[in-house]
Amino acid sequence: MIPTSDYLLLSGLLFTLGIVGVLIRRTAVLVFLSVELMLNAANLAMVAFARAWGQLQAQSAVFIVMTLAAAEVAIGLAILIAIFRKRVSTEVDPLSEMKG
């Protein structure tokens, strides 16, 4: 039996990779990719806890998170396309009109 802490370690690492990816990448799509990675890291941790607590709620929660992720990706990419049509480039930095 693999101890839950190992799974958590893996999820933590993946999460860190994801977040660093978000910061390093400068094109919107790839930023999205890293966000997906972070999301999956979180799912892994959830499932590991499901096993640790022996209850199925975590797993159904993960299921819902996945559907959520799918919806999010759909919308995200649609926005990207709309922006692309206006700006040609998909870079993240110029998009700063919403400054406080």
Partner: protein
């Protein structure tokens, strides 16, 4: 145990590939690799139904969508050289390493509240039946909400992407207005 290590290694390599690959396609493929290794990990965690869903929904549909968009926006082009904000990349790496280190410290001390032995029996192998039962009993409201969300997502993406055709005005303006400019 070995299986866990191989899968963990595979997912980490996929992750690094996602964030570091210069070519966008490699990045997406890296992520697909990670996803599949995660699916296998779900199996070791007695979450068979989830593993299946992961593979079908996530690795399959979402990643394909990504590939499609990457192709469409030819995001593979290298980005303009200069990074407008100083030190972001370096800072990000440093913070990443620090975060990883502290997570290691914090998480390896985690002792599960119950022994893992009888976990498999309670989870009933994560089969679709029991998961579905829990989903539709305790998680009924989120379930409905998510379905609504999906509906909204679909309509939203269609509306966003749809190219606006110019329709003529339903009620013609009275001619009396002199010098009205062409409408927006």
């Amino acid at each position: 145990m070995i299986l866990f290590l191989i899968l963990a290694l595979l997912s980490l390599v996929g992750g690094v590939l996602t964030i570091a690959a210069s070519n966008a396609i490699h990045a997406v493929l890296g992520l697909v690799g990670t996803l599949i290794s995660l699916a296998m990990l779900y199996v070791t965690l007695d979450a068979h139904f989830l593993a299946a869903v992961q593979v079908i929904v996530y690795a399959g549909a979402v990643m394909v969508l990504f590939l499609f968009v990457v192709m469409l926006l030819n995001a593979a082009r290298p980005v303009s050289s200069r990074d407008p904000i100083p030190y972001v990349r370096e800072l990000a790496v440093i913070f990443g390493v620090l975060l990883a280190g502290s997570l290691l410290l914090v998480l390896n001390g985690y002792a599960p509240p119950r022994s893992l032995a009888n976990a498999a029996s309670d989870l009933a192998g994560g089969a679709p039946g029991p998961v579905g039962a829990v989903l539709l009993s305790k998680f009924l409201l989120p379930f409905e909400a998510v379905s609504l969300l999906l509906l909204v997502a679909v309509i939203g993406s269609v509306a966003l992407v749809l190219r606006p055709q110019v329709q003529e005005d339903p009620a013609p303006e009275p001619a009396a207005q002199p010098g009205r400019g062409e409408t927006a």
